[in-house]
């Protein structure tokens, strides 16, 4: 199966797809709109996680911490200064991004499992901070915001965010910049010896990921018009975004999209049928993916040569930063 399109045709196709999706709120029922906008949030988060963990190979177990920063920033801006919500969400995204610069420079010095555990700790720590810093966050009581008037705007916001992150990933996949970013995943020391400023590329990916997560957090806060430590730092969402990116194939352009759409449907089913066990099933699914299809659905496509050229899934899983070298190594 060979399908080759020029860049102009690709852009046209993308715009047509966007247009069709933008028409959904006008024709579909509220349930469908709600479902699809949640799907867009999943897509945005999966792409955000993919940016840092898929492309640089730094597996993060706490990227949702930045979602929480975006959520709280947006909520406080709306609540204290009655900022228009879209502006507040954008500001939340920028605040998360700004926060990510020093954070990334510190955290990305950690290698192997330390980065993963460190991000997990950060996530716990920020959730605890949000619960105790009562003057700013109103503690566990949370902040109530005016309810949403039009669902369509939130739908458009999530659609826009998901599309923007998709485009950014696409650009990454097809540029020298993205290639240099991916060298971090393959061999960080080797990349450094070739004169690539790996710190910059890692931090860049981390900040883009933070911008995406923060924006998603900001929109979500307005959507549910409420924020407390559990809704701002939802552990389930943290797990979901990781599994989605892995299911589709981490470090690919299409993987997070496929994974999010597929798992979005599955989770809707699981949630309805096994309300108490669906997270356990998620865990089982994650274990299954790691053991039997570590490069995800895209990896399968790639192996079967259904897809040629273009995006290579990180086969089979990033080795670079996760290959921990002991301090005095004689293995």
């Amino acid at each position: 199966m060979k399908l080759r399109l020029g860049s102009f045709q690709r852009l046209g196709l993308f715009l047509i797809a966007l247009l069709i999706l933008a028409l959904v709120p006008a024709i579909a029922s509220t349930y469908i709109v709600t479902f699809v906008l949640t799907l867009f949030m999943y897509i945005a988060l999966a792409y955000s996680w993919n940016f840092i963990s898929g492309y640089t190979g730094y597996i993060s177990f706490g990227q949702i911490a930045l979602f929480g920063i975006g959520s709280y920033s947006c909520a406080i801006l709306i609540f204290k200064w009655s900022t228009p919500w879209f502006l507040a969400a954008a500001m939340g995204s920028l605040i998360a991004g700004a926060f990510a610069i020093p954070l990334g420079l510190i955290m990305l010095r950690l290698k192997g499992p330390y980065f993963a555990v460190g991000m997990m700790g950060l996530f716990q720590f920020l959730a605890a901070l949000a619960a105790t810093w009562k003057s700013l966050t109103n503690g566990a009581t949370g902040i109530y915001l005016p309810p949403v008037s039009a669902l369509a705007y939130i739908y458009f916001a999530f659609l826009g965010l998901a599309a923007a992150l998709f485009l950014a990933t696409w650009k990454l996949e097809h540029s020298a910049f993205g290639l240099r970013l991916r060298t971090v995943r393959e061999d960080e020391e080797g990349a450094e010896s070739l004169g690539i400023n790996t710190t910059f590329y890692k931090a860049f990916a981390f900040v883009v990921s933070a911008l995406g997560c923060g924006f998603a957090g900001g929109i979500q806060v307005f959507y549910i018009s409420y924020v407390d430590p559990t809704t701002a730092f939802p552990p389930v969402l943290n797990i979901t975004m990781i599994i989605m990116a892995l299911l589709g194939g981490m470090g690919t352009c299409w993987g997070p999209l496929i994974g999010a759409v597929l798992l979005g449907q599955i989770s809707e089913f699981l949630w309805a049928h096994f309300p108490y066990f669906y997270i356990i099933i998620y865990g089982g699914l994650l274990a299954f993916i790691i053991m039997f299809m570590p490069s995800g659905i895209m990896g399968y496509f790639h192996k079967r040569k259904i897809l040629r050229g273009g995006s290579h899934p990180s086969l089979p899983l990033p080795n670079g930063p996760m290959a921990l070298k002991p301090a005095t190594g004689n293995r």
Partner: protein, 295 residues
């Protein structure tokens, strides 16, 4: 400051020091397990805190059935040992030669499963097991009896473990597998078996530490979250794979926690643990004592 005030102040510090020491002994047991698993399998067991939780709640469940913790603790240890061996054999063993991302994500999956199974079985309420409520008065110092009992068990357990590791054939095979797995295999050691055994022993230690925790504090099935960070901080401060260093790390983390907890709040001590974790990784990634000393 008057003489009396100074005396009182140093007494308080002594009191906090003792509490920190008692806590360090308990943390040490779980951290040894984590460290051993890393040493033999080269795998960061991110589910260690959740295995602790499982141990804690098995004892809790058994005690609600009327069984004393004297039976409960060994039972929890046994169940966790078997569970650890099964986890290793059927999950971790499959990815043990792969890049670390595999085992990390796989154990993350195990952690998700165990934690949410715990939440389903025991809900998210905090529970504790108050078996010896009294406290001992030594001069002006107050030491809760249960802490002392638990500390004693922890020290005995550590001593037994150190003995097994250093003086027995099983221990020798484990150390050989840490030092040079290929050569150990060539010498006829079944490294696969050693890996399963080590993982089982590690989760056993985690489970027993969990039983200590439920007797000392109130815990809920999400306790693994904060525990895993503390355990990693301990292991990193002491140096990954450094057996002796684990105790130094446990002492540092436990002292930091008790002191900040005494002068500040619980959240403050969480910040302290997180800072230790980051600082030690950035400033001395090889650990305070440095290197990989396996015994």
């Amino acid at each position: 400051m008057s003489q009396g005030g100074f005396m009182e102040g140093s007494l308080v510090i002594l009191q906090v020091l003792i509490n920190g020491l008692l806590l360090a002994g308990i943390y040490g047991v779980a951290a040894i397990g984590l460290n051993l698993i890393f040493g033999v399998l080269r795998v960061a067991n991110i589910a260690h805190g959740d295995f602790m939780m499982l141990g804690a709640f098995i004892v809790y469940s058994l005690s609600t059935l009327g069984l004393s913790p004297l039976i409960g603790i060994p039972a929890a240890g046994g169940i966790l040992f078997v569970l650890g061996i099964l986890t290793e054999r059927f999950l971790v063993e499959k990815v043990v030669y792969q890049p670390m991302a595999y085992s990390l994500l796989l154990l993350y999956a195990v952690s998700i499963i165990v934690r949410n199974a715990g939440l389903n079985l025991w809900t998210s309420n905090y529970v504790s097991l108050n078996i010896i409520p009294g406290s001992l008065q030594i001069g002006p110092l107050t030491i809760s009896e249960i802490r002392l009992v638990v500390f004693t068990i922890a020290v005995i357990l550590t001593a037994v473990f150190t003995f097994i590791l250093n003086k027995t054939t099983v221990g020798k095979t484990i150390r050989a597998s840490i030092q040079h797995p290929d050569l150990a295999g060539a010498c006829g050691i079944d490294v696969r078996k050693v890996r399963a055994l080590t993982f089982g022993a590690g989760t056993l230690l985690a489970g027993i530490t969990g039983t200590f925790f439920i007797m000392l504090f109130s815990v809920n099935p999400e306790m693994g979250d904060m525990m895993i960070l503390k355990l990693f901080a301990i292991v990193i401060v002491g140096g990954l794979g450094n057996y002796l260093g684990t105790f130094v790390g446990a002492l540092v983390v436990a002292m930091a926690e008790t002191f900040t907890g005494f002068y500040g709040t619980t959240q403050f001590s969480d910040v302290a643990v997180f800072s230790i974790f980051l600082l030690s990784l950035i400033l001395r990634p090889q650990g305070l004592l440095g290197g990989r000393k396996t015994t």
